[in-house]
Amino acid sequence: MKVTCPSCGLVGKVMFDRLFDASAKVVEIHDLTKAFGKFTAVDSLNLTIFKGEIYGLLGPNGSGKTTIIKMLCGLLRPTAGSAKIFGHPIPYKSIMNQIGYMPQDTAIYLDNTVHENLLFFGGIYGMPKNQLEKKEREMLAFVNLKDWRDSLVSTLSGGMKHRLSLACSLIHEPTLVFLDEPTVGVDPELRATFWGYFESLAQKGITVIITTHYMDEADHCTRVGLLRQGHLIADGRPGELKEKTRTRSLEEAFLFLTGRKQS
């Protein structure tokens, strides 16, 4: 089966051998705009993201990545424009159990143990006990926190908290995950594990939307959008963007596109 990406016209190699319909639109964004007073944080964003993609929102601090994610999650109201998730216009409540969200802040309870946090975040998705226990073991192994299961979160290191935060976003087996800077403060070895896990999620047809300001790791994404001051200045596969700008890395591509570097 040959699938052409309707937004960029490319045929991605990862799309070939999938069992699911990779042309299914998961996120559709039309002219999405967010202004804080006179300041426009996100300006007329148009973007479509498909099932099973790992979409990377790339851009320096303050370029509007978090604002986009928050609007898509229903935490911020768009000033203009619209967006649909699984065909439901935002804000939605009916499909919330399909969504996983890892906020940029380490959003976990410091005065509870690792176990209690996982149990709670599974619990608010109404997961039955035995399924929750099984999933908890899997998550603890994935984020390498097995030995800290009964430790209070306030006693963990920054990186450990971050890992737990990721686990809390994934425990209920969402089909669409928004990860806001999931790799900040994570050591290189574990970062590789993370990307491996995200790729395995994508293989299962789960759509992963990741923000990062580390350009180097964006090569793991199936598609990236480069953001600058609230504008989407480029959108495509990492290889394609590098090719188009005749640069060797996404970082150089970004600088080229913002006119700060010649190729």
Binding site: K70, C73, G74, L75, L76, R77, P91, K93, M96, N97, I99, Y101, P103, Q104, D105, T106, A107, I108, Y109, L110, D111, N112, T113, E116, L119, F120, F121, G123, I124, Y125, G126, L152, C168, S169
Partner: protein, 390 residues
């Protein structure tokens, strides 16, 4: 509203309190300390008030009465019936004017029995219409109303006791006695002490402080740590969040009130005449209303430090205007209307009515109605606040 999701909130909050000793201490130690400190300082009503007694009573002329025995010195009887625990008596035998002693602050009062005290008493029994009752003169240092009240209460009590004993031993009816002041208590009585009055107030005050402060801190942290964002991006509804926390506070409130009441019973032997379950229902209503208030206030603080600044804002009106220590009737009349705006007032009033008077819903429905209204309003407002998006 799904029960499983709602309970997940309650469960997590309760587990957090279990880990967080600081909060735990706040919940239990604060009300216990209050009841111990205030119970012991205010509670053990005034004792050992120094009082001079000047007894000039000459008794009866022998053989002057068939009714009263010759050796009767009524003033002596009254003096003997004064409670030596409350009044520390000094019998003044000098003829010099004892009033000087009160003036100098060496005694709070001077009780003077005139020379014709017993005689006048006899005369007033014989011809009650023409002869005025005998008089006890009390010369008082009125600078402390509590002490004045205690002295007057003691003297009245002792006169009553003396007359009762006398009527019993002489086999005459008490009705014929002059100065027969009878006190019949509708509720409580001579035995009601400050601590009995204070305990229902403390449990109301404690639940108010604990739920308001903990809710503010919990929700300030929910916002600041970003956990609230996660909750809002979940199938859990805003009302499930609010109800989930409310159930946790219900558990805390019941535990706290029971611990405080048990302590008050063990240490001070307070008696509760009313329905303890109704008392707990009022506690829960107070908890729910103040939880709602706490969520609303939490929107005004960015961090725990700012949240702490709400303490005086909540503490002072409650302590001063809600009738915790002294009756609302005793605060200046222009401030009294303000007390109607303080929900704690209705909680304290209801708890006192239940615990001291044994009243039920029929008598305190206004209090309960206002507390229900307060809880419904603040909780729905807090659900709306959580639903709000920028």
């Amino acid at each position: 509203m799904r029960l499983r999701r709602t309970l997940a909130f309650s469960r997590r909050a309760l587990l957090q309190f279990r880990h967080d000793r600081r909060t735990f201490a706040f919940v239990l130690i604060m009300p216990l300390l209050m009841i111990l400190i205030f119970g012991y300082t205010f509670g053990g009503d005034v004792k050992g008030i120094t009082v001079e007694v000047m007894n000039q009573d000459a008794g009866l002329t022998p053989g002057s009465s068939l009714l009263l025995p010759d050796g009767l010195f009524l003033a002596k009887e009254v003096t003997q019936n004064l409670d030596e625990n409350v009044l520390s008596l000094h019998i003044n035998t000098n003829s010099e004017d004892g009033r000087q002693i009160v003036h100098e602050g060496k005694a709070w009062a001077m009780i003077v029995f005139p020379a014709n005290f017993t005689q006048k008493f006899l005369a007033s029994i014989m011809t009650p219409d023409t002869i005025p009752s005998p008089k006890i003169e009390i010369y008082l240092d009125g600078s402390n109303p509590t002490i004045v009240a205690a002295i007057l209460k003691e003297v009245t009590k002792s006169v009553q006791t003396t007359l009762r004993e006398l009527s019993a031993s002489l086999n005459i009816s008490e009705v014929d006695m002059p100065i027969a002041i009878e006190q019949i208590y509708a509720y409580g009585g001579d035995q009601t002490r400050f601590i009995d009055y204070f305990a229902p107030g403390v449990i109301s005050f404690a639940i108010m402080m604990v739920t308001t402060m903990i809710t503010i801190i919990l929700f300030v942290n929910e916002r600041r740590n970003g956990t609230l964002q996660r909750l809002l991006v979940s199938p859990a509804s805003e009302s499930e969040i609010v109800v989930g926390y409310a159930l946790a506070f219900a558990v805390i409130g019941v535990i706290q009130s029971i611990v405080v009441l048990v302590a008050a019973i063990l240490f001070f032997g307070i008696t509760i005449v009313g329905n303890i379950f109704l008392a707990l229902v009022v506690i829960l209503l107070l908890a729910f209303g103040h939880q709602g208030l706490g969520i609303l206030l939490s929107a005004g603080a960015k961090n725990e430090l700012q949240a702490i600044q709400f303490i005086p804002l909540i503490l002072f009106p409650s302590i001063l205007l809600a009738g915790l220590f002294w009756p609302i009737e005793s605060i200046p009349s222009y401030l009294q209307p303000l007390s109607y705006l303080i929900p704690l007032r209705y909680g304290i009033d209801a708890e006192r009515s239940i615990m001291l008077r044994g009243w039920g819903v029929g008598e305190i429905w206004v209090d309960i109605g206002i507390l229900v209204l307060f809880a419904v309003l603040t909780l729905s407002a807090s659900v709306l606040l959580l639903k709000r998006r920028n």
